[in-house]
C-alpha cells in the first residue's frame, strides 16, 4: 500500500520554467566561462579575476534566486503533501516507449535544490578569493558552474533516464575538478580513479534502468518516471518483489557515487582537487547524489506503511533493504576508524564524510527515508562549513598536514569559532546542534527498524558516533589549541580573507539557524502537541510530506548517543590536550600500532579493487593480445593461409610435372614403395600403436555421429 495514490500531478508552466532556469543558468555561465578560457589561451592573456569570478557567482546567484522563488511558491501555493508539479518533453521517442527530459518538483527535490543552491553559491563566493592568483581561474569557475548545473539537473530530474544522464555528467565534472591541477601526476591519477569508480557504479545503474524498463515493458506500460512507477506499484500492475533486484542494481550505482563500502577508495584521493571543490563536491552535494537517488527510488525496497514505521516486506525485497542498511553501517564504521588514523586535515574530513554517508545510507535502508534526508540536510551544511574552514587553515599554514598546525586560535578567531560550530554539528553535541537531532533520529530509526540484527547495527552506529566525536575533537585540538608546531620563520598564519570569512559566517549562521529550528521543534514538540505537528518539527513535517512516519522524538532515546559523544570528546581532550600519560601509552601500545596500519591502508579495499579490477584486466588483456597477434595473425593467417597457399602452389606444379611423364612408369614402383612403407609402420613404439588405434577410434566415432545425424533429428 503506497501513500502515492492520493497524489495529484499539476502542470504549472511558471514553476517548471523557473526550474529549467535553475538548471540552465549555471550550465550557460559554465560554458561561457570555458569559452572565455579558450580566448585566454589563444591570445595568451588572462581576464581579470573580478570579471570571471563575478560571472561564476552571478550564475549561481541566478539559480539561488530561482530556487527560493520555487520553494516559496511551491510550499505556499500547493499542498506539498498531495500535489507534485511535473513537466517533461520527449528526448528520444520510439513507437512503444519514449525517453523524456522531465522536471519534477516535490518536497524532497525542492528542499534539496534549495539547499544545493544555497551551499553552492556560498562556496562560489568563498572560491573567488580562495583561488586568487591561480592561472586557470576561469576554467575553475567554468567547470564548477557546469557541475552545479549537472547537480541541479540530477536533483530535479523526474525520471531515471534524465537522472542517469546528469549522473554521468556529475562523474565527468568531478573528473575535471579533481584533475584541476592536471600537471600533478597524483591529481591526474586521482581523477582517473574517481571516474572509473563512478563508472562501475554507472554501469550497475544502467543495468538497473534496463531491468526496470524491461519489467514495465512486460506490464505494457514502459516508463522510467518515478511518479508513474509509484502509481504502477500502488495499482498493483508491478509488484515490489519484481523491483527489488533493479533496486539493488541502482543502489550499486549509489555505492559507486556516494563512496559506500567497497568503492570509497576514490573519495580520499579526490582531496587532490582544490578545497572549494572538496567542500562542494566531495562533502555536501555530489556524494549525496547516490543517497538522494535512494530516496527517489525507495519504492523498490520499501512498502511505505501508513502508521508508525515502514514495513520492510520479507523475502527478496528485504534483502535490498538489509544490504543497504548493513553496508551503510559498515561504511560508517570503516570511515570513522580510518579517519582516526588520517593525519592530513582534508583526509580526516573526507573519511568523516564517508562515515556520515554510511549513516545516511543506513537510515535510507531501514525505510525511514525522511530521517536519512534529515541527516543529509544537516550534514551538507556543517560539513561544507568544515571544509571551508579547513581551506582557510590550509591557506594560512600552506600545508594540509595536522602535525605542522596548532595554536592557530589567536591568529584566526573567525575560523576558530566557525570551525567549532561546524565540529559541534558533526559531533552532534547534545541539544544545541542540528547534528544531534538528525543523528538521534537516525539512531532511533535503526534501533526499532525490523532489519535483521538491528540491535547490533545500533551498537555499531553508537560506537561510530563515539569515534566521530573523538576524531573531530582531535582535529580541533591539533589545529587550533595546543602549542604551535609550524616553523615560525616561514609560516605566518594570518587572518582569513574578507570574502572567505563572510562565506564562513553565512554557513555558520545557517548551521545555527538549523540547530535552533530543530531544537525548538523537537524539545518544543515534547511539550506541546501543536508544535510537534507544526512546521517547527522538521523531521515529522518531512515524513508527513513523503508519507512515511518514524518514531517521535523522545529524550530517553538520546541518552546513549549523548554518553558516546561525551566519552569521545573527553577521551580526545585527555589524550591530545592534557597529554595524560596513561592515555598516551594506550595510543602507542604495540597492538594498536599494528591495528592502525591495517586501518590506515583502508582495510585493503583499494588493494583488493586494484587486484580484482586492474590485475586480471591487464592479464586478460595481455593474454588476448598475445592470442590475437600470435594465433589469429601468426598462426591462421601467416602459416595456414600464406604457407598453406604457397605449399599448395608448389605441390600443384610438382604434381603437374610428375603427372605428365610419371604416370606410365610410376605404377610399377608404387606398389613396391607402398609395401616398404607399410612395413615401416611396425615401429615397435608402443605410443605409435596407441596413436594408430586412437586414430581408428576417432574415425569410427565421427562416422557414428554422421550416421546419428542422418537418422535422428534433434527434437
Amino acid at each position: 500500500m503506497v501513500v502515492e495514490e492520493g497524489i495529484q500531478v499539476i502542470e504549472d508552466k511558471f514553476l517548471i520554467n523557473s526550474a529549467i532556469l535553475v538548471i540552465l543558468i549555471p550550465f550557460l555561465t559554465g560554458i561561457f566561462l570555458l569559452f572565455l578560457r579558450g580566448l585566454e589561451i589563444r591570445n595568451k592573456t588572462k581576464f581579470s579575476e573580478r570579471l570571471t569570478g563575478s560571472i561564476g557567482v552571478a550564475g549561481l546567484l541566478g539559480s539561488l534566486i530561482n530556487a527560493t522563488i520555487i520553494i516559496f511558491t511551491y510550499f505556499n501555493k500547493y499542498d506539498a503533501k498531495t500535489q507534485r508539479v511535473i513537466g517533461d518533453t520527449p528526448f528520444v521517442s520510439s513507437a512503444h516507449g519514449t525517453f523524456k527530459w522531465g522536471i519534477s518538483l516535490d518536497p524532497l527535490s525542492v528542499i534539496m535544490m534549495f539547499l544545493l543552491a544555497f551551499i553552492a553559491s556560498v562556496i562560489h563566493f568563498y572560491a573567488t578569493e580562495y583561488m586568487h592568483g591561480d592561472t586557470a581561474y576561469t576554467r575553475f569557475f567554468g567547470t564548477l558552474n557546469f557541475f552545479t548545473g549537472a547537480m541541479f539537473g540530477f536533483v530535479l530530474a523526474s525520471n531515471l533516464f534524465m537522472a542517469f544522464v546528469f549522473w554521468e555528467l556529475l562523474g565527468v565534472s568531478s573528473y575535471m575538478l579533481i584533475g584541476y591541477y592536471w600537471p600533478k601526476a597524483s591529481a591526474a591519477s586521482a581523477a582517473k580513479k574517481a571516474f572509473l569508480y563512478n563508472k562501475i557504479g554507472d554501469v550497475s545503474f544502467l543495468v538497473g534502468i534496463a531491468y526496470i524498463w524491461q519489467i514495465t515493458l512486460k506490464a505494457h506500460h514502459p516508463t522510467l518516471d518515478y511518479h508513474e512507477l509509484t502509481n504502477l506499484i500502488s495499482n498493483g500492475t508491478i509488484s515490489i518483489n519484481q523491483l527489488w533486484f533493479p533496486g539493488l542494481l541502482l543502489f550499486g550505482g549509489a555505492i559507486g557515487k556516494s563512496a559506500q563500502l567497497p568503492l570509497f577508495g576514490w573519495l580520499p584521493e579526490a582531496m587532490e582537487g582544490p578545497t572549494p571543490v572538496s567542500a562542494l563536491l566531495h562533502s555536501s552535494t555530489m556524494v549525496k547524489a547516490g543517497l538522494f537517488l535512494l530516496s527517489r527510488i525507495y519504492f523498490t525496497f520499501v512498502t511505505v506503511g501508513g502508521h508508525y514505521e515502514a514495513f520492510i516486506p520479507e523475502g527478496d525485497a528485504a534483502l535490498t533493504a538489509t544490504l543497504i542498511t548493513w553496508l551503510g553501517v559498515l561504511t560508517a564504521l570503516c570511515g570513522a576508524l580510518i579517519a582516526l588514523t588520517a593525519t592530513d586535515i582534508k583526509k580526516v574530513l573526507a573519511f568523516s564524510t564517508i562515515s556520515q554517508l554510511g549513516y545516511i545510507g543506513m537510515a535510507m535502508g531501514t525505510g525511514q527515508i525522511h530521517v536519512g534526508f534529515y541527516h543529509l540536510v544537516s550534514h551538507a551544511t556543517f560539513k561544507s562549513l568544515l571544509f571551508l574552514c579547513a581551506g582557510a587553515v590550509i591557506h594560512s599554514v600552506h600545508s594540509q598536514e595536522m602535525k605542522d598546525m596548532g595554536g592557530l586560535k589567536k591568529y584566526m578567531p573567525y575560523t576558530y569559532w566557525t570551525m567549532l560550530i561546524g565540529l559541534l554539528g558533526l559531533v552532534g553535541f547534545p541539544f544545541i546542534t542540528n547534528g544531534f537531532y538528525s543523528k538521534d533520529a537516525l539512531l532511533v530509526a535503526i534501533k526499532n527498524s525490523d532489519i535483521p540484527l538491528a540491535g547490533l547495527a545500533f551498537t555499531i552506529a553508537l560506537i561510530t558516533a563515539g569515534i566521530t566525536a573523538f576524531y573531530s575533537s582531535k582535529l580541533f585540538i591539533l589545529t587550533f589549541l595546543g602549542t604551535p608546531r609550524y616553523d615560525k620563520d616561514h609560516v605566518h598564519p594570518h587572518k582569513t580573507g574578507i570574502r572567505m570569512r563572510i562565506a564562513l559566517i553565512i554557513l555558520a549562521i545557517a548551521v545555527v539557524i538549523e540547530s535552533v529550528w530543530w531544537a525548538v521543534g523537537s524539545i518544543g514538540g515534547l511539550a506541546s502537541e501543536k508544535i510537534n505537528k507544526s512546521f517547527w518539527n522538521f523531521e515529522y513535517r518531512l515524513g508527513d510530506l513523503i508519507g512515511i512516519h518514524g518514531a517521535p522524538f523522545a529524550l530517553i532515546d538520546t541518552i546513549p548517543s549523548i554518553l558516546a559523544v561525551i566519552l569521545g570528546i573527553s577521551l580526545a581532550f585527555g589524550m591530545y590536550f592534557y597529554q595524560i600519560p596513561f592515555l598516551i601509552s594506550l595510543k602507542e601500545g604495540g597492538f594498536i600500532i599494528k591495528l592502525e596500519n591495517i586501518i590506515a591502508n583502508r582495510f585493503g579495499f583499494d588493494k583488493l579493487i586494484y587486484v580484482l579490477a586492474m590485475g586480471p584486466g591487464m592479464w586478460v588483456g595481455s593474454k588476448f593480445r598475445r592470442f590475437d597477434e600470435e594465433v589469429i595473425d601468426g598462426f591462421i593467417i601467416n602459416t595456414v593461409i600464406k604457407d598453406g597457399s604457397l605449399k599448395l602452389a608448389d605441390y600443384s606444379n610438382k604434381l603437374d610435372q610428375d603427372g605428365i611423364d610419371g604416370v606410365v612408369n610410376g605404377l610399377g614402383d608404387i606398389t613396391s614403395e607402398l609395401g616398404y612403407n607399410l612395413r615401416k609402420v611396425q615401429t615397435g613404439q608402443t605410443s605409435q600403436y596407441a596413436r594408430w588405434m586412437m586414430f581408428g577410434l576417432a574415425l569410427l566415432l565421427s562416422i557414428m555421429t554422421l550416421l546419428y545425424f542422418q537418422t535422428f533429428t534433434i527434437k
Partner: protein, 114 residues
Amino acid sequence: MIPVEWFLTLSVVMFVGGLFGVLTQKNAMRILISVEIMLNAANLAFMAFNGVFYNADFPNSFSASDFEGWVFVFIIIGVAAAEAAIGLAIFLSVYRNFGEIQITNIFTLKEQEV
C-alpha cells in the same frame, strides 16, 4: 539436481584429457597416470548413469535394484588397483633391464630392419 549431461561432459573431457596424456607422454609412468584419469572418467560416467535405467519405461531392465552403477564403479576401482600394481611391477622390471622406462627408446618388439 545436477543434469546428467554435465556429468557426462565432464567425464568426456576427463577421458579425452587422459587420452591426450597417453598419446603424447613418452614416459611410461606418465602414461599409467593418464590411464588412471581415463579410468576415473569411466567411473564418473557409471556414477552418472546409476539408477537411470531402472524404471517402468524400460520393461526389460534386467537389474532388480538401482545401485548397479555403484557396483560397476566398485569393480573398476578394484581392477584399477590390480592394474596399477601389475603395471608398476612391470615398469620396475623393465627399468631394471633397460635402465630407463622411456618408451620411445624401448622398442625391441620391433620388426627387425631388413
